[in-house]
Structure formats: structure tokens, C-alpha cells
Symmetry: C2
Subunit: 159 residues, 2 copies
């Protein structure tokens, strides 16, 4: 079996977009930084997100069954850390402009692009759950900024 | 419902690593370019790959139940197109050095890093199948090269 450290070192070489995934509803407001997001099908438009079951956002996502996947650009670099630390959910959303999507999930005004989704199914795999997210609306923020990419344990900017 | 074109335009803003996923065994030799690859769990080490059911590599992957996920660097830029076009599987593997992994899948000698995996489960979602891949071995190629990232319908290099 591969050691956890060896696995983590190796996957750090798979670059990934950085997203802040948000939710709101009867399960409460929550959001988390995600780099395990990818496109699944284009008809219908579906994305998947991997979420740790121990994540502080897990219960809210499971209850609300809606998420907004906000793709970050350089304008929002400060959110990467804020949404992956232990701060309260209310703290995470402060000082930045958000608006409410049709699902109720917060849309980051300055995102590159945001995907407002219904979580139509989940699949549990060991410590994580795969969220199968069907896109209800696409909202563009600012596509002129640099994209943020996580690679080799650092945040890079891509033009 | 979101139009296919609108969805594709929007997801082009989610950057992704470029991998060539290979397989070999009684189902035959096959390989395809994949940008929908992400880390799932670190204990055990697992990655997921989204594969179109219509893909010419689909039957081989399903039969062999093993894949090698080769993360591409700039040394292998010519493979991105070759493994996503209609050429025969034998043609795709020509002129580049590969060696056989413990699962039998081809390992790209010049990859950034390769993950030799057993496909332990699959989940069908509309036009695609999610391959749940448990890592059996990690093989480093050349980590000094620039990483290849797909973003806004172009291949970028990241140092």
C-alpha cells in the first residue's frame, strides 16, 4: 500500500483549478476550498466535486443539496486560505461581495465563473464523498483576471 | 437546461492538468488524453478519472480494470493531441518511450509522475463513467520539466 505522504507528494504534481464551493439553505451557510473539481458531462452540464466527510461544510451540503462552484481568479487569492482554515462559516464570507443564486448558494461576485448546481447524487468512497452536481445556472464574474492554479503545493497564476 | 455550448465555454475556465491514461491486458492496448482527473482519498491513495462511454479506449479499460495515469509535462506536449484524435491505439504509442508497469499498463518514461492503478469500481453518469482508481505504484519520470495545464481551450506551461 502506498504511504499517505508518498501519495500526497505525487498528487501535488497534478495541477488543478482552485474553487470555493458554497451552499446555503436549511442546513446553514457553508463554503470550502476545493481543488478536486472536474467536468463530468456536457449534456446535461454536470460537474463533480470531492468533499471530505470530516469537512466542516459536509453536513450543510448534504442537507441543502445545492452548491455553487466558484472558480477563483487572482482577484480572490485571499479566499483560498480563508476557506480552507478552521474559521467559522460566517467569518469566511466577510469582506467580499457575494450574491444569492437561484439555488440560494452564495455566488462570488468576482469569480472567474460560477456554476450554480443541484447536488443530484452523492457517492461515498472511503473518507470522501463525490458530489454529482447538475448545473442550473452559469454566472460570469470577471474573466479578465488571471486564473488561480494549485500545483506543487503552491498557488500559481495563469493568464 | 444549460446549452451544451454555454456549458463548454464556462468549464473551459476551470484549469486542469493534462494526463494520458493508458491500459493494457486481455482487453487490448489503449490510451486517451484526460483532463478530468482528480485526487479522491490519500488513505488509501485513490484518484478518479472521467471517461466518455463512447471513447475508443472504453472497452479496453472496462475489460482490463487497470490504468496508468501519466501526468504530462512539456516534454510530452505532442502526446496531448495524438491521444485525443482518431488514430489507432498502436499509432498513439509510437516514437515515445514506454515501459510496462506492475498492472501491465504502459508507463510514459518522460511523464512528470505516473500512477499505476487498479480500477476498483466504476460509476456510470449519463454519457460518462467515473473510474475509481486505487494506486498500486507511483513512478516518477522527470519532475524538472514544466507541467502542462489545459485552460481556456489552450495548453499552458507551468513551472
Amino acid at each position: 500500500m502506498i504511504e499517505k505522504k508518498d501519495y500526497r507528494d505525487a498528487v501535488s504534481r497534478i495541477s488543478a483549478a482552485i474553487c470555493v464551493v458554497t451552499t446555503n439553505g436549511i442546513g446553514g451557510l457553508a463554503g470550502f476550498t476545493a481543488s478536486a473539481v472536474c467536468s463530468l458531462t456536457d449534456s446535461p452540464g454536470m460537474l463533480l466535486v470531492c468533499l471530505q466527510i470530516k469537512s466542516s461544510a459536509y453536513q450543510a451540503v448534504k442537507t441543502n443539496q445545492v452548491v455553487c462552484i466558484n472558480t477563483l481568479g487572482a482577484d480572490s487569492a485571499q479566499l483560498v486560505k480563508r476557506f480552507s482554515e478552521k474559521g467559522s462559516m460566517v467569518e469566511r464570507f466577510k469582506e467580499v461581495v457575494w450574491f444569492e443564486s437561484s439555488t440560494g448558494s452564495p455566488v462570488l461576485a468576482n469569480a472567474m465563473v460560477s456554476f450554480d448546481c443541484d447536488v443530484i447524487e452523492t457517492k461515498c468512497v472511503e473518507t470522501h464523498e463525490i458530489l454529482l452536481c447538475r448545473v442550473r445556472n452559469i454566472i460570469y464574474g470577471n474573466t479578465d483576471q488571471h486564473a488561480l492554479v494549485y500545483y506543487n503545493r503552491q498557488v500559481h497564476r495563469l493568464s
